[in-house]
Amino acid sequence: SEEEECEHQAESSSHSSDRTTIIAIAFEGGVVIGSDSRVSAGASVVNRVMNKLSPLHDKIYCALSGSAADAQTMAEIVNYQLDVHSIEVGEDPLVRSAATLVKNISYKYKEELSAHLIVAGWDRRAGGQVYVTLDGLLARQPFAIGGSGSSYIYGFVDAEYRQGMTKKDCQEFVVNALALAMNRDGSSGGVAYFVTIDKDGTDEKCILGNKLPTFFDE
């Protein structure tokens, strides 16, 4: 039942989750996208098992940060728009298309909304891709981090990232980065969710708090 608790998507929509850590990294043939699971409202943890990774399409996911309500709504709208788009073109949408739809909403409503979505996925044309859509820009990056916990791991990800990492390397990278951020950021914590997307499908995993990697002072 702990596993079920882990995978349950909570409904809370009025609480902020820019207190969060999200990360995505691309490898040859796919992407790994991950997040923590804490939703806090001020000093209280409102949900400790929230899954902040939202599917936009079969092989395209986004990671939510910022206001939980805004982020969830954006993800729902883009999910709908992508469904329509993929029926119109008759095939699976490109990751860039999904990211563009997110960017369009972020940019048009940049004064009203405060959410940042990292979009990551796999498509036939360009393989694994990660896009950032902060403030309404659209940029493809080899990896991306976001949320309040990301400040603490800039040094770590800059040092650890190398070109040509394998799927397994990327999964370890994501889990280590999330664990480090969760240790230092009061607004990130709980369990680590990550999703691996490649041409064969998507694989969702959850690592419980006591199974996360530990560091020198634990």
Binding site: S151, Y152, I153, Y154, G155, F156, V157, D158, A159, E160, Y161, R162, Q163, N176, A177, L180, A181, N183, R184, F215, F216, D217
Partner: protein, 198 residues
């Protein structure tokens, strides 16, 4: 305004940018102040406040060591700074890392925060750039590293912080303090290690 890094035995280090508003007034300033033979302080926050406090601390420590007829303990130096920071916490805006070597406890590192808290740690980081390297430092620090490993760890950590913090930069200063003495190491910006995006 600077990332700082302090390890037992070894490097006490800092970058060297000094700002007035958004103007860089000095790119080579040394933020490592020697308060006694084998005790150094890294300063952060208002440089003026920090310099005034360390000057006072240096005087108090030299007087103390004459009275005790022995070099002061690192903890004593940190305490002196802490008293000054705590008692004047309304006016001051400076934080310190005190590190050094003494005969009683060997190499030690103490953090004196802006409000006047004093704690001892195996290693510590501070300054505006430090937030970016918490993850890196947690992941890479191991107790009982050798001198070379410590120097490498510190240089890497500072380089990563400079890479992300817009108000850190310039030259990296490090001081290695051991039982045998004190050595100052300076690494100019172009000799710093390069990471994946450079």
């Amino acid at each position: 305004e600077i990332p700082q890094h302090s390890l037992p035995v070894i490097p006490d280090s800092t970058t060297s940018l000094a700002l007035s508003g958004s103007y860089v007034s000095n790119k080579m300033i040394n933020k490592l102040i020697q308060v006694h033979d084998k005790i150094f302080c890294c300063i952060a926050g208002s440089l003026a406040d920090a310099q005034a406090v360390t000057k006072m601390a240096k005087f108090q420590l030299s007087f103390h060591s004459i009275q005790m007829e022995a070099p002061p303990l690192v903890k004593a130096a940190a305490s002196v700074l802490k008293e000054l920071c705590y008692n004047n916490r309304e006016e001051l805006q400076a934080g310190f890392i005190t590190a050094g070597w003494d005969r009683k406890r060997g190499p030690q590192v103490y953090t004196v925060s802006m409000g006047g808290m004093l704690i001892s740690q195996p290693f510590t980081i501070g300054g505006s750039g430090s937030t970016f390297i918490y993850g890196y430092a947690d992941a890479k620090f191991k107790p009982d590293m050798s001198r070379e490993e410590c120097l490498q760890f510190t240089t890497n950590a500072l380089t990563l912080a400079i890479g992300r913090d817009n108000v850190s930069g310039g030259v990296v200063h490090m001081v290695v303090i051991t039982e045998d003495g004190v050595e100052h190491v300076v690494v100019p910006g172009d000799k710093l290690p390069k990471f994946h995006d450079e």
